[in-house]
């Protein structure tokens, strides 16, 4: 376990009667890449603004490097931000923008020049010092914004939907670069996004935020494979979420049919939800399938086919398959016991983690 | 945010001293007669005097005519301008005369309209004979309309420029003729500009006095000239203020009727 650079303790935020954050607590370890992931209006940007000091928490405490910083103004915090719209000063050129923070601190000219040069090199904008902001493309502005933030050597870098204004290809490139930059600098990155692919690709840790609460925290793999609840399962990746009944340990009943699974520790006949990822469903012949279904639609997506089919009980399934099938054809659907992920209703993150740990011990 | 409080001091002082105080004072003054005694007689005089009532009707009538003439000239001008290639440049040419001192333009008309001026020389040349042009109501309204044209063209131009061209294509696509397109698409969409233009022209026209004096002859025929007369000649500030209050009320009525449709780049 690394040292905590940032801690939230029971932080709440209200705008008038509008509750944006509800009793949020978390720790941020130094030197990791965190992503706050959630739909718009979930409160993720508010968390970022509280860390930066643009907004004050209505209740609770924020600790930075062990010190309570609720009353420290934004301009005195060792945190820098890359803004969604970049917020580059339009009346300054690239070098002046990057140098702004250092000038404010009264760093001497020669050092400023060196560090600006260095920062622009890190974001691969060598030689762009004298360019006007208006003469830069979106991707280049993004880099200037990053350089302007990292030149101050903050302990934590905040990125607010920093890639959302870029086109798809550039965004994917920048994801790789940001990840490299974070390793190179060794500082903590806190990245806010609503784009789950971005979050999965870049992060050490993802915090899923919805409705002013943290839904689940974990590594991208944990969150994808073991979503805590309906919201997380639905929000991350594509999924078939089906109501089910837990018959006994390692046996779940979906739509009246029993299936072997790897989950245990629940009450007998407890009502649960089951997640089956579309890529975990394989198409086979009807006689070999655990389920028999009729194909309704098929879309070619380049890497695979997105197929929908309805089973004998008229339940619809989403299937991602690299093999082509035919609309109207009857097929068998098959999956492994470990592809079934069981979610209990209203389970807390701590209980959920304990339950998962218990299987691992048994194995 | 404490220093923001310091920022507002000079501006707030301006609001109190030069916006609120003068309005309060003109209202206050309107209740005093020429000898400095408190009275409501100014209002009674205004309401019972045929001279003042006629003058009010005349002012409104002149302002209406000036606005109408200006609109009739300006709408087609804006409409033609919008279809030109360098429309911003041509618009600048329409606006340019407003940068020349108003007095100078008015002064030019004195020369043009005089008994032996260029207009009369032209009229004689085409054998229509010489006419008294200066000091007539027509010449006064013509000059007033002349002054106001750019202020009417501009908001209409802006409103027309804001119309999405695909709306016009859509209208044509749906089978409307050019005239039908104009009547049911372009005109309604340019209406905010027309209203802004009317507001920008009508209110100042109500209170004209300089043009009235120089071109319309040295007569007291509008509320503007009456106010000037009372304040600067007869020194009856109470009566002048009363008419001023009436003018302010008229201004609010016009603004209410034309609605809050201020166009950007317009006079406001």
């Amino acid at each position: 376990m690394g040292k905590n650079i940032l801690e939230f303790r029971h932080v709440g935020k209200k705008y008038g009667d509008n509750v944006v954050l509800k009793d949020i607590s978390f720790d941020i370890e130094a030197g990791k890449f965190y992503t706050l992931l959630g739909p718009s209006g979930s409160g993720k940007t508010t968390i970022l603004r509280i860390i930066a000091g643009f907004d004050d928490a209505t209740s609770g405490d924020v600790y930075f490097d062990g010190q309570r910083i609720n009353d420290v103004p934004a301009n005195k915090r060792q945190v820098n931000t890359v803004f969604q719209d970049y917020a580059l000063f339009p009346h300054m050129n690239v070098a002046e923008n990057v140098a702004f923070g250092l000038q404010i601190k009264g760093v001497d000219k020669k050092t400023i020049q060196e560090r600006v040069h260095q920062a622009l090199h890190m974001v691969r904008l060598d030689g762009y010092e004298e360019r006007e902001i208006t003469a830069m493309s979106g991707g280049q502005r993004q880099r200037v914004a990053i350089a302007r933030a990292i030149v101050n050597r903050p302990k934590v870098l905040l990125l607010d939907e920093a890639l959302s204004a870029l086109d798809h290809k550039l965004r994917v490139d920048m994801q790789t670069e940001l990840r490299q930059l974070q390793r190179q600098l060794g500082i903590t990155f806190i990245f806010v996004t609503h784009d789950q692919e971005e979050a999965l690709a870049m992060s050490d840790q993802i915090m899923i935020i919805n409705d002013g609460k943290i839904q689940q925290t974990g590594t991208p793999v944990d969150i994808y494979d073991e979503p805590l609840n309906h919201f997380v399962a639905d929000f991350i990746g594509e999924s078939n979420i089906v109501p089910a009944v837990m018959k006994e340990d390692y046996l779940v009943n979906i739509n009246g049919q029993d299936f072997e699974c790897v989950d245990a520790g629940m009450k007998t006949n407890e009502r649960v939800e089951v997640v089956l990822r579309p890529e975990d469903l394989d198409i086979t012949t009807p006689d070999k399938g655990k389920l028999v279904a009729t194909v309704d639609t098929q879309l070619f997506r380049g890497v695979d086919y997105q197929i929908t089919a309805h089973d004998l009980r008229n339940h619809e399934w989403k299937i991602n398959s690299i093999h082509k099938t035919t609309v109207g054809q009857q097929v068998g659907l098959t999956f492994d016991p470990e592809d079934i992920h069981v979610m209990r209703y209203n389970e807390s993150e701590a209980d959920f983690d304990a339950r998962l740990d218990s299987y691992e011990e048994e194995e | 945010m404490r220093q923001k409080a310091v920022f507002i001091v000079p501006y707030a002082l301006w609001i109190v001293l030069f916006v609120i105080a003068p309005l309060v004072l003109i209202l206050y003054q309107s209740f005093f007669n020429i000898d400095g005694q408190f009275t409501v007689n100014n209002y009674l005089t205004y309401l019972t005097s045929s001279v003042y009532l006629k003058m009010t009707v005349a002012s409104v009538w002149y302002a209406f005519l000036i606005t109408a003439v200006t609109l009739v000239i300006s709408y087609p001008t804006a409409y033609v301008l919008i279809h030109l290639r360098n429309k911003q440049f041509w618009l600048l040419l329409v606006i340019l005369p407003t940068w020349i001192n108003l007095l100078l333009k008015t002064y030019a008309f004195i020369g043009l309209f005089s008994r032996n001026g260029s207009i009369n020389q032209f009229l004689q040349f085409v054998e229509l004979g010489s006419h008294q042009l200066l000091f007539t109501d027509a010449s006064f309204m013509f000059v007033a309309a002349y002054i106001e044209i750019p202020f009417m063209v501009l908001p209409i131009f802006n409103a027309l420029a804001e119309i999405n061209p695909s709306l016009i294509n859509a209208s044509k696509d749906l089978g409307a003729t050019q005239w039908q397109t104009f009547r049911s698409v372009i005109w309604p969409l340019s209406l905010p500009g027309v209203k802004a233009g009317i507001q920008a022209v009508f209110i100042p026209s109500l209170s004209l006095f300089m043009i009235t004096r120089l071109i319309g002859g040295n007569r007291v025929i509008t509320l503007g000239t009456a106010i000037e007369e009372h304040f600067l000649t007869t020194q009856n500030w109470g009566m002048g203020s009363t008419i001023g209050v009436i003018l302010i009320i008229a201004m609010f009525i016009v603004m209410f009727i034309t609605g809050d449709t201020r166009q950007k780049g317009g006079r406001q």
Binding site: A87 | N101, S207, G244
Partner: protein, 272 residues
């Protein structure tokens, strides 16, 4: 059909432009006439320009007018910019009330402004003359500065201010290093508009000027009432050239600001 209608529109536009420019051209032509009236052209001469430059009263008045315009627009720009910052920082009802109060002088007829200022100065015991004229010009120029600066402030992304704080700037540094430079073009435009407003004003000045002090507009008014004098034509021509130069420079300012359509903003004071 299309060509035909285009032709009519060209003729119409030409007609409008002739009306718009005839008086100005007329003034300019007669400023070079050797004659004494605007009735017939008597051959080319610079006589009226010589008269104008020899007319010390007129020269003094021109200097007075410029002095008032420069001072009034400068002070109005400072107060107006502060006002715009204050309005930008206000919220809801406050903001609406401030905007309404700001616009009172924009929509008021000049006669009302002139008359009410005259009462105001008399009540305060301010002697009519340079000071009263200067104060009036500052007063009626402030709202136009606010209206020119406020859109620039509203355009300013709020994250820009956050970014300045984020990079360690204090509130004062944010104001002087980020906000003011970013709204610079609006402030320049406001100054320019205030300047032309002041130069152009007649009605308000006419009410508050008293006997000892005169500006160009008031002087032309009194001279025009006495009859035509071609010295004024010469002055008009010079002012026309100055106006043109101002418009061109303003054009470049607004171009530099990247907002081309700003140049089509017109002044209000002209109606009187």
């Amino acid at each position: 059909m299309k060509k035909h209608s285009l032709k009519w529109s060209t003729i119409y536009l030409a007609f409008v432009f002739i009306i718009l420019y005839a008086p100005i051209i007329y003034l300019v032509i007669y400023s070079f006439s050797a004659g004494k009236t605007m009735e017939s052209f008597h051959g080319f001469s610079f006589q009226h320009y010589m008269d104008l430059f020899a007319d010390t009263r007129m020269i003094t008045i021109v200097i007075n007018t410029l002095l008032v315009a420069l001072l009034a627009s400068l002070l109005a720009t400072i107060i107006g910019t502060l006002g715009a910052l204050a309005i930008k920082d206000s919220h809801g009802k406050w903001r609406n009330s401030l905007m309404s109060l700001n616009n009172v002088l924009m929509v008021s007829p000049d006669v009302i402004i002139g008359a009410s200022f005259l009462i105001f100065f008399t009540v305060l015991g301010v002697r009519l003359g340079f000071i009263s004229v200067l104060l009036s010009h500052i007063a009626f120029s402030i709202p136009i500065v606010v209206l020119m600066v406020l859109p620039k402030l509203n355009e300013l992304s709020p994250t820009l201010v956050d970014a300045a704080y984020d990079l360690g700037a204090s509130r004062w540094q944010t104001l002087t290093r980020v906000i003011l430079p970013a709204i610079g073009p609006g402030i320049m435009a406001g100054y320019f508009m205030a300047f032309t407003y002041s130069l152009d004003d007649f009605a308000v000045t006419f009410f508050v000027t008293g006997n000892g002090f005169s500006t160009l507009s008031v002087e032309i008014y009194s001279r025009a009432r006495q009859g035509v004098n071609l010295e004024i034509n010469a002055l008009s021509t010079l002012m026309f050239i100055v106006s043109l130069l101002l418009v061109i420079s303003y054009y470049f300012i607004s171009q530099h600001a990247g907002r081309r359509h700003h140049l089509v903003t017109v002044k209000e004071g002209d109606a009187q």
